[in-house]
């Protein structure tokens, strides 16, 4: 008997059919992957299973009984647990208090703490119930979320992109926990776009595209490439790059850079040092929230730093603003596309003016040259194959991947001497990711220095000549990609700089 069975689940949002007659069955004791590009309808589907959204049509069966799941509370009563991508923990409370909040029969705190430690020991989730959540690392917080679900002994656990905030070592520990749960008969519905880990972990996969089920497979018998092609529905051509030893002039020199953005919960950068040469692609890895946002603000000029701590083409630039740095040859793709990299309500043509107003001749004598901006937008759309009707389309009407292609295209078409790009393919489908990677490689081959800040290690190893790791605002010494491996970078991502050095020596 299936633990969970969906028949013809349909959900419509104004303008889009998020789920179209989706069938799915999850049997006891399996790890079932839900695969699909962004916007394929994965999140909508699991939200309906967890009772956050109500389907417009279709039937749901829980352990053979037809059921309506009206709320998350009801889902939990049935035995469904969910770990969201964004945690729902109270930072000012302790681990035990956070667990007590969701349990109906929490009992005394001492008793509960003992039970938390028990569950933790059983599943390899080491937890101290008395610690406050704000002191915990992201990986530890996730353990709290998982332990909180496990306290209720769920029979179906839903996990939404759980490894995006973990180092490779933390991810391995998570997989051990999940395999143990599976052995005990718990079913797991696992959402991820990291195909390698799905291959290693999952028993079955259901593939969604455009809200529909387009196939199912046994991940162990597929390659990441074949699964990616099922997801995008066409053949995939991956770009390839051999690491080079760049000898060109230093385009970007960061020497003792520290930030003081003053924003609440900011991870300030402390004394970062690295340089990027012409023709080189330099990567910065790190789990989310390690200071990437702050480093980007300091590089773009949105936050000023000591003038000499940041040099572009040898010129002190730390005290300059974004437009002045662009005049020195910098281009930058920020992490947030809507609202920072592009203005949603403005046309694509107007969005070229955003970064080209001072340096690209789009403004003359205080007047915007509309025809030039339109021509530039049209050229970018054509070059990157952006799916848009034309330069007059509002940026907000494009899908995430297409907007990212447009923004990357806009910055690359300025032919910068130095390009800084954050999360170039985050949430972008495999086809668009390949196109963006090709553009970055091409730019470096034409003699630009490229700095890639990413949480995706596969991407960094594919593109970069050298890598450094950001952890709690500290940057590790860079090392050549050819001389390192995922293990070592993973240790650095967890802050174990000494252990990584030893691994280096070994």
């Amino acid at each position: 008997m299936d633990r969970l069975k969906l028949e013809g689940i349909t959900k419509e949002f104004p303008g889009t059919l998020a789920n179209d007659r989706v069938d799915l069955s999850v049997v006891p004791g399996e790890i079932h992957a839900l695969l699909g590009q962004n916007g394929a309808g994965k999140s909508t589907l699991v939200k309906m299973i967890y009772g956050v959204l109500a389907p417009d049509a279709g039937r749901m069966f829980w352990e053979g009984q037809e059921t309506t799941i009206a709320s998350p509370a009801q889902a939990r009563r049935l035995g469904i647990g969910m770990v969201f991508q964004h945690f729902s923990l109270f930072e000012s409370l302790t681990v035990a208090e956070n667990v007590a909040l969701v349990l109906r029969d929490a009992g005394s705190m001492d008793d509960l703490s003992r039970r938390i430690v028990e569950v933790g020991d059983r599943y390899g989730l080491s937890l101290d119930p008395r610690r406050h959540v704000h002191d915990l690392s992201v990986g530890e917080r996730q353990r709290v979320e998982i332990a909180r679900c496990l306290m209720r002994e769920p029979r179906l656990l839903i996990m939404d992109e759980p490894t995006s905030v973990l180092t490779p070592q933390e991810a391995d520990r998570l997989f051990m926990t999940l395999r143990q749960l599976k052995a005990e008969g718990c079913s797991i519905l696992y959402i991820s776009h990291k195909l390698a880990e799905i291959q290693a972990l999952c028993d079955r996969a259901t593939i969604l595209r455009g809200g529909r089920v387009v196939g199912a497979c046994d991940p162990a018998r597929e390659s990441p490439r074949s699964m990616a092609e099922m997801m995008i529905g066409q053949e995939l051509s991956q770009p390839h790059r051999e690491p080079v030893e760049a000898t060109g002039p230093v385009r970007l020199e960061v020497d003792g850079l520290s930030t003081a953005t003053g924003a609440p919960f900011a991870t300030e950068i402390r004394d970062a040092r690295f340089s990027v040469r012409a023709g080189e692609i330099f990567g910065i890895a790190g789990v989310a929230g390690s200071g990437q946002a702050e480093l980007l603000l300091a590089l773009s000029g949105e936050v000023r730093v000591a003038p000499a701590s940041l040099k572009i083409d040898g010129k002190p630039a730390g005290g300059l603003g974004p437009a002045e740095r662009r005049a020195l040859g910098l281009a930058l793709v920020p992490e947030e596309r809507l609202g920072r990299g592009a203005v949603p309500a403005l046309s694509l043509a107007d969005n070229t003016v955003l970064t080209g107003w001072k340096t690209r001749g789009l403004v003359r004598g205080g007047w915007v040259e509309g025809a030039k901006a339109t021509a530039l937008a049209a050229a970018i759309i054509k070059r990157l194959g952006v799916k848009a009707r034309g330069p007059a389309d509002e940026a907000g009407s494009l899908s995430g991947g297409n907007l990212q292609k447009f923004i990357v295209g806009r910055e690359i078409s300025a032919e910068p001497r130095l390009l800084v790009v954050a999360q170039p393919t985050w949430g972008v489908d495999a086809g668009a990711a390949a196109a963006i990677h090709r553009e970055l490689i091409g730019l470096a081959e034409r003699g630009a220095a490229v700095l890639v800040i990413s949480q995706d290690l596969d991407e960094l190893f594919l593109l970069c000549d050298r890598l450094a790791v950001l952890y709690h605002g500290r940057l590790s010494p860079p090392r050549r990609t050819a001389d390192t491996n995922v293990e070592q970078i993973g240790l650095l991502m967890g802050g174990m700089f000494e252990a990584a050095e030893n691994a280096d020596a070994a």
Binding site: T10, P14, G15, T16, A54, P55, D56, A57, G58, R59, M60, E66, T67, T68, S300, G301, E302, G321, P322, A323, E324, R326, L332, P334, E336, G339, R340, G341, A342, V343, P344, A345, L346, D350, V353, L354, T355, W357, K358, V363, G366, W367, V368, G370, E394, S397
Partner: protein, 361 residues
């Protein structure tokens, strides 16, 4: 099954309703106005005619309409620049009064020998600077101490009005004025030339129209207009682009202050001709309605200022001919803003009439 009236979000904002909403709001206001007249015991059709048609059925009436609309459009176009950038100057009324005081004070000081051709231009400059100075206070407090410009600019309005009261009751009172609280009449050189003989229509209206045209060009084609839009819609994108937000706050507040000050000078150098306690006519506040009625767009503001000016004239005409209290003009303006805000919902939402979809199991 019960009838279900639902608001459903549109995938994209409706361009048609962006312009349709003000028209629908005006239509609903007219209907509600007719109902109001009927309840008060006045024949609705006749009353509406007295209110909206009679005031503009003569050349003189049309001139009065333009005269009333002039300060409204000047204040509103200035405010709309700030509103687009999310800078909320609510104190155009105070900047209007200070502009009038600066221009009028200069005229009173220099007109001893009758004044020459240079007097009016100097007054205009003084009025503009006065309005800017009054708007500079919230700009400084906002950029230096992050003080809320809504409160600061609003409070300064009352300071400005009290300053006017003090001056016309005290130091600037006309010695030959039988102790009335008003200044001397301005000399000929301190008055705006009249455009059409027999009316009060003056050069100020033409200047206001020219400023509207310039604002339209700058807001749609200029880098300044682009920066204002980006800052208003996506402040983070503005920082990424390298637009200086403090400078934009200063620029939008100073500009709206300058235009309100100009409106103040035009008022005293035009129809009034002296400083009196009755100079504040709420133009600065009403301009907020005009700015939104006109979708923060210069062409819309031109039309909006005419509609609101007509409600002022209609109120006077209804007072004289129907013996309705003059407050009825305020009622019409209030209804118009109320219905406009209500109709604006249709830009982002559509009304779905029908039976609710059965929730699936």
């Amino acid at each position: 099954m019960p009838l279900d009236l639902r608001l459903e979000q549109r995938p994209q904002a409706s361009a048609a309703w962006r312009y349709g909403a003000p028209l629908l709001a005006i239509a609903i206001t007219l209907c509600a106005g007719a109902a109001l007249f009927a309840v008060l015991g006045y024949p609705p059709a006749h009353s509406l005619k007295v209110f909206f048609i009679d005031p503009v059925s003569s050349v003189e009436g049309l001139a009065e309409l333009a005269l009333k609309a002039t300060p409204l459009m000047l204040c509103a176009v200035g405010l709309s620049i700030g509103f687009r950038a999310n800078v909320w100057n609510i104190g155009a009324e105070g900047q209007f009064v200070i502009g009038a005081l600066a221009g009028g004070g200069l005229c009173l000081a220099l007109q001893g020998d009758g004044g020459g051709w240079w007097l009016l231009p100097l007054m205009v400059v003084a009025g503009v600077l006065g309005g800017m100075a009054w708007a500079a206070i919230p700009a400084f407090l906002r950029t230096r101490f992050n003080a809320n410009e809504i409160l600061v600019s609003l409070m300064l309005t009352y300071v400005a009005v009290l300053l006017l009261q003090f001056l016309v009751h005290g130091p600037w009172k006309d010695p030959a004025g039988f102790n009335f609280p008003q200044s001397e009449m301005f000399a000929e050189g301190g008055l705006l030339p009249v455009l059409v003989e027999g009316t009060r229509l003056n050069l100020g209206t033409l200047v206001a129209l020219a400023i509207l045209g310039l604002a339209w060009a700058v807001l749609t084609r200029g880098l300044f207009g682009f920066q204002i839009r980006v800052i208003g819609q996506a402040p983070l994108a503005a920082a990424y682009a390298g637009f200086d937000q403090r400078r934009m706050i200063w620029a939008s507040l100073l500009l709206s202050g300058a235009l309100a000050g100009l409106a103040g000078v035009f008022e005293i150098a035009g129809p009034v001709g002296q400083l009196t306690p009755a100079i504040p006519q709420n133009y600065g506040f009403t301009a907020i309605i005009v700015a939104f009625l006109g979708r923060l767009h210069p062409v819309g503001i031109l039309l909006g200022s005419l509609v609101i000016a007509l409600s002022y004239l209609g109120g006077e005409s209804a007072q004289i001919l129907l013996r309705l209290p003059v407050a009825v003009a305020g009622v019409f303006q209030g209804m118009l803003l109320f219905f406009l805000l209500a109709c604006d919902v249709l830009i982002r939402y559509r009304i779905r009439l029908g039976h609710s979809v059965r929730r699936a199991v």
